[in-house]
Amino acid sequence: MSPTPPASAPPDQSPRVRRVTRVIGVTAVVATACTVWLGLWVTPPDVTQGDLVRLVYIHPGVAWVALYLAFGLAAVASLLYLWPRTRSLFWDRLAAAAVEVGVVFNVCTLVSGSIWGKPTWGVWWAWDARLTSTAVLLVLFLGYLALRRVPAEPDVRAKRSAFVALFAAVDVPIVHFSVLWWRTLHQGATVLNPDLTPTIHGSMAWTLLLGFMALTLVFVWMLLVRYRIGVLEDWLGTGELDVALRERRAEGPAVDEDEAA
């Protein structure tokens, strides 16, 4: 028996949650600004990579958020939704929010990696394991978002999306290893060094840490807002229909479905 969505309870958000969200947002902006300032001006250039090393304060951070934080959260939330004892639309909405934000960070990862790659390797793109798996991950979760757009009952959509997220999560390690082998086992391939992170110390290490924290805060803020949007959208999806139906019925003689068909 699928739970019917609450038709009429207005989706209010507690003022505490709203305040927390705003605080996180402001902190995120401040932390990001500090990272940029430290990364671009205060920290020294690297011995080998020169100024290019400054991208290390951004690129691994967005990658960590996208691949582990966002998609990991989405996978766990999807599992929790599928597990009967913890089934709740909360997990579904959380997963959806995490995937959408994760996709944005994934794009940032690929773009920043590409921009770093051009002066380093001479090419905008390389088919090494990490880049390729990240691209496949992006496509998989774009598929998730596409599937969610299809109109359906909330619990049907939730179950479907959860399965897709689960399959995607299962597939990512497989794809990663197969691409890794694809590169290394292919005779005569020039193995591009995918490791762009230099040995880090001193002010660079602190800035790197700050960068990670700043981007994590940005992710959390985006997640909270996107989750809220999901709640509002779902309520309006039913709320508006209910209201429209009531207005229609109040107008006059009842609408006969058979006549309308």
């Binding site: 609450p6 309870a9 671009l40 934000v101 807002v225 949007i229």
Partner: protein, 56 residues
């Protein structure tokens, strides 16, 4: 160095634009909710409101 600047600008721009879009969507949805609640049918809806713990 110009690559570094480009990298920072692009990533921050993407994040900034998405953040703006999120805030815009939220505001638009909140306004829609307010509209629905204000209508007379909205009052009728609230009378037989059925709050569930699931709705956060």
């Amino acid at each position: 160095m110009k690559y570094v600047i480009a990298g920072y600008v692009v990533v921050l721009a993407i994040l900034f634009l998405y953040a703006m879009q999120l805030m815009w969507r939220r505001r638009r949805l909140l306004r829609a909710v307010a509209r629905v609640e204000a209508s007379p049918a909205g009052d009728a809806a609230r009378i037989d409101a059925d709050p569930t713990p699931d709705h956060r």
